[in-house]
């Protein structure tokens, strides 16, 4: 990288001196200058390509390879599918996969909430500008801060239980009950991120043909009918995009919440693959096993990602 930068600086300086040259002078610039112009795109791309290949794509291959080797005494020796066998036998990892299943089931809710709110904002509910700013704010807060705030609110002797106690509902151990904790963490994640999807939906609405809505109004369509027959079909691309990004968000950006709110507990009930990878790598000193879990997570992501690539390419073609 550093070897590239001085070249860039040198060339631009030279270009400045050449600036007054008439167009005809190009031919006389010599082979060196033309060669450097031909190489320019590669020079411009070099730092980016180097970083992405070395620190994103190469580790991916390394990790897959790593997942077939052993930990501890067997470090570096090939052990075939042992790590994967161990993963599937580990109740913590199976719990993590079960929780991924739960996320998939909750996905439609996590998409529908911002979708409906965006619709209302688009229809200019009184105060829509204010709502938009408020709803979006938690989306820019770190999951760590969000988690810390909810630790406070959801503590057993905390304010939520105080309020519920006031209306005669017994206290719930929101983060300490294995049957409840995962739902609570997902709920907080949705609270914190629905503003992001909302903004994406609103960007989609900006491309919506307003005459369609007028036509629906002239035909006397109710709001639910308008949503079903006009808005959903017109925004199908945006809806697909939100589905994919919300799923990816659930699989890869809940670490901060899990780390702060539950640490995977109670009784391992709030493990997700990303948290399992972290524990095996950092706490249990089982990097090869962690790599196997990474590879499984990547498999899940790949299915989601391929879907997204096809959407992106369609977008590029339309643009």
């Amino acid at each position: 990288m550093t070897s590239v930068r001085p070249v860039v600086a040198g060339r631009t300086d030279r270009a400045r001196h050449q600036r007054p040259a008439p167009p005809g002078a190009t031919a006389r610039r010599g082979r060196g200058a033309r060669r450097s112009e031909r190489l320019a795109p590669y020079v411009l791309l070099a730092p980016a390509v180097l970083i992405i290949v070395l620190l994103r794509l190469w580790p991916l291959l390394l990790g897959v390879n790593f997942s077939f080797t052993g930990d501890g005494d067997r470090d570096g020796t090939m052990v075939g599918l042992d790590n994967y066998r161990e993963l599937l036998a580990d109740p913590l990892f199976r719990g993590a996969l079960r929780n991924v299943g739960l996320l998939v089931l909750l996905l439609p809710v996590a998409v529908a909430i911002p979708g409906l709110l965006a619709t209302f904002i688009y229809l200019r509910v009184p105060g829509h500008r204010f709502y938009r700013s408020v709803y979006f704010f938690p989306a820019v807060l770190s999951p760590v801060i969000v988690g810390a705030i909810f630790n406070l609110l959801l503590a057993f002797d905390g304010p939520l239980n105080t309020v519920l106690g006031g209306v005669g509902i017994g206290p719930t151990d929101w983060l300490g009950d294995p049957d409840v904790a995962m739902f609570v963490v997902v709920g907080v994640h949705v609270w914190a991120t629905f503003g992001m999807a909302l903004v994406v939906f609103l960007a989609g609405f900006a491309t919506l043909d307003a005459t369609l809505l007028d036509a629906a109004r002239v035909d006397g369509a109710s709001l639910p009918q308008t949503i079903r027959h006009v808005i959903v079909p017109s925004l199908s691309r945006t809806i697909q995009f939100v589905f994919v990004t919300t799923m990816i968000g659930m699989l890869t950006s809940m670490f901060g919440l899990l780390y702060v709110m539950t640490s995977g507990g109670p009784e391992g009930s709030t493990y997700l693959p990303e948290y399992y990878i972290w524990i095996q790598q950092g706490q249990m000193n089982r990097p090869a096993l962690a790599s196997a879990a990474s590879t499984v997570l990547f498999g899940v992501m790949l299915v989601v990602g391929l879907l997204q690539i096809s959407l992106l390419r369609r977008g590029v073609r339309e643009a």
């Binding site: 112009e37 031909r38 980016a48 580790p59 704010f137 999951p143 760590v144 801060i145 705030i149």
Partner: protein, 275 residues
């Protein structure tokens, strides 16, 4: 839209309640941060009887929040500068220049978008350790740049595609080299996109906890968000000081949001509609 009008006020009510549910946790935390421990134990909800700074001072001093804040500001600044530099260079090349392999390179960057950090975390840690970059600021900055560069390139490429090639051609005829075009045309014209992408990247890096936890094990290298995770152990019985630490960490983002909300939303929207 007159038919919808009566129901509009009906919709406004649940939306107002939701807005309250969105703001209240933050207001509650800020209020608790102003309370004494005694006040909090007696009544969770009462307004603090004074705007007190003691808890803030306690959190600032005992947890070394000042140091963590400085660490975060430094790494985020360096990361964003490098991301914008490399991202705009690559975006310019991919959008405006014709050369062999450009589509392969673009697809390569796109593919990297779908490699989440969790998947490469173990081998990346090894690579960083082998290079002697674990627990160093250059290592963390490099990891952030690698993490958010594909997204940056993607947005800069789509933005630069909207600039007519005639502008570049004209500048070339005027005798500018490719690098001259980048510096004199693409950087200034790209300013709005660079601002949006820069703020988004700053938020991503600022809010990260996983990468910093993995690559910066020693306590004096903690970023602010890693510092927040240590608050709970520190103040398990002193809730107001805990809330103060959280507040200190939340305020910079709140300030940025109040001033640059539009740019943040534009960046997110651009990522979705261009995508």
């Amino acid at each position: 839209m007159s038919r919808v009008r009566p129901s509009r006020w009906l919709l406004a009510l649940p939306m107002a309640l939701l807005a309250l549910a969105t703001i209240y946790p933050l207001v509650f935390t800020a209020n608790v941060a102003m309370k004494t421990r005694r006040e909090y134990v007696l009544d969770r909800f009462s307004l603090a009887d004074a705007l007190r700074g003691e808890n803030i001072a306690t959190a600032w001093n005992t947890v070394d929040m000042g140091r963590y804040l400085a660490n975060s500001v430094g790494t985020v600044t360096a990361s964003v500068v490098l991301l914008l530099l490399f991202g705009s260079m690559a975006g310019f090349a991919l959008s405006q220049l014709r050369f062999r392999g450009s589509s392969v390179l673009f697809l390569g960057c796109l593919a990297a978008l779908f490699v989440p950090f969790q998947v490469i975390m173990v081998p990346l840690n090894r690579i960083m350790a082998d290079a002697g970059l674990v627990d160093t600021y250059p290592g963390l900055v490099l990891a952030y740049v690698a993490q958010f560069l594909p997204f940056t390139i993607f947005l800069m490429t789509s933005y630069y595609r909207t600039i007519p090639t005639e502008i570049v051609d004209a500048a070339r005829i005027d005798g500018n080299s490719v690098y001259g075009v980048y510096r004199r045309i693409m950087l200034p014209l790209g300013a709005p996109a660079l601002l949006s992408v820069g703020i988004l990247n700053a938020l991503f890096c600022w809010n990260d906890v996983l990468i910093a936890l993995l690559l910066m094990p020693s306590a004096e290298h903690r970023t602010l968000m890693v510092g927040v995770t240590s608050l709970r152990g520190q103040y398990s019985a002193d809730i107001p000081s805990f809330a103060s630490g959280v507040l200190i960490a939340a305020i910079p983002v709140l300030v940025v949001y109040l001033f640059l909300q539009r740019q943040i939303a534009d960046g997110v929207a651009a990522g979705s509609t261009k995508g």
